[in-house]
């Protein structure tokens, strides 16, 4: 199963799309997902990520069928 990648808020606007699917071949971590999804662009210094709706660092492992979200610092409330 592919990995589902989602972008939110200002990051979605910078990347130019809300979501995409990536083949899981050669993708081991959240950082690998970012590299493939952003065509090698450096992640913004304050980028946050989540795997299957749980906050995760760039070195967090990902596997087939995972959903990986990328977003800027949160500003609710």
């Amino acid at each position: 199963m592919p990995i589902k990648v989602r972008f939110f808020a200002s990051l979605r606007e910078q990347i130019g799309q809300a979501e995409m699917e990536l083949p899981s071949d050669g993708v081991a971590t959240v950082g690998d997902v970012w590299a493939q999804a952003s065509a090698g662009a450096q992640p913004p210094a304050e980028v946050l990520a989540a795997v299957n709706h749980t906050t995760a660092g760039l070195d967090y492992p990902v596997s087939d069928g995972d959903e990986v979200g990328f977003f800027p610092p949160v500003t609710g409330g």
Binding site: A50, P73, T75, G77
Partner: protein, 146 residues
């Protein structure tokens, strides 16, 4: 424990009254603390006329439920509620309600503050403002709560 995301304007007072009616025994409650955040007409020196609240469906609800569970584990609560707006918000409308009920004020005050501060730093919501000039901009960070 309840969490709710609202795509339309909500009344925090009606939410509090409804939760008390449906979920609490009046005789057990000795304290209710609540926090209501609403939309200002200005930010960082600029007039703001509208705001859009984006969230991460699924993750946002999960984060709010986790924060409530942590509060219930930490304090002796009779109930707690988080209500948060999503979508288009107008000036003056409530954005967030956190309310906590307990037998005594210490647990109510402290847990309400905890819910609000944890929500601000952990729940995936993002604000995009529309200024009076027509320009739009993302709010990049929250003001400190402590």
């Amino acid at each position: 424990m309840t969490i709710k995301l609202c795509a339309e304007a909500f009344s925090p007072w009606a939410e509090i009254a409804e939760y008390e009616r449906a979920s609490l025994e009046a005789g057990a409650v000795g304290a209710c603390a609540n926090f209501i955040g609403s939309m200002r007409d200005n930010n960082e020196g600029d007039a703001v006329v509208a705001m859009t609240l984006e969230h991460y469906p699924g993750m946002t609800e999960g984060a709010l439920e986790t924060i409530e569970r942590e509060a219930v584990a930490k304090w002796d609560l009779l109930g707690c509620v988080i209500v948060h707006r999503v979508g288009e918000v107008r000036v003056g409308e409530p954005i967030v309600l956190c309310a906590c009920w307990s037998a005594h004020r210490k647990a109510a005050f402290e847990s309400c503050r905890f819910l609000m501060e944890e929500l601000k730093s952990r729940a995936p919501f993002w604000k995009k403002e529309t200024l009076a000039s027509g320009e739009t901009r993302w709010v990049e960070r929250n003001t400190p709560g402590y």
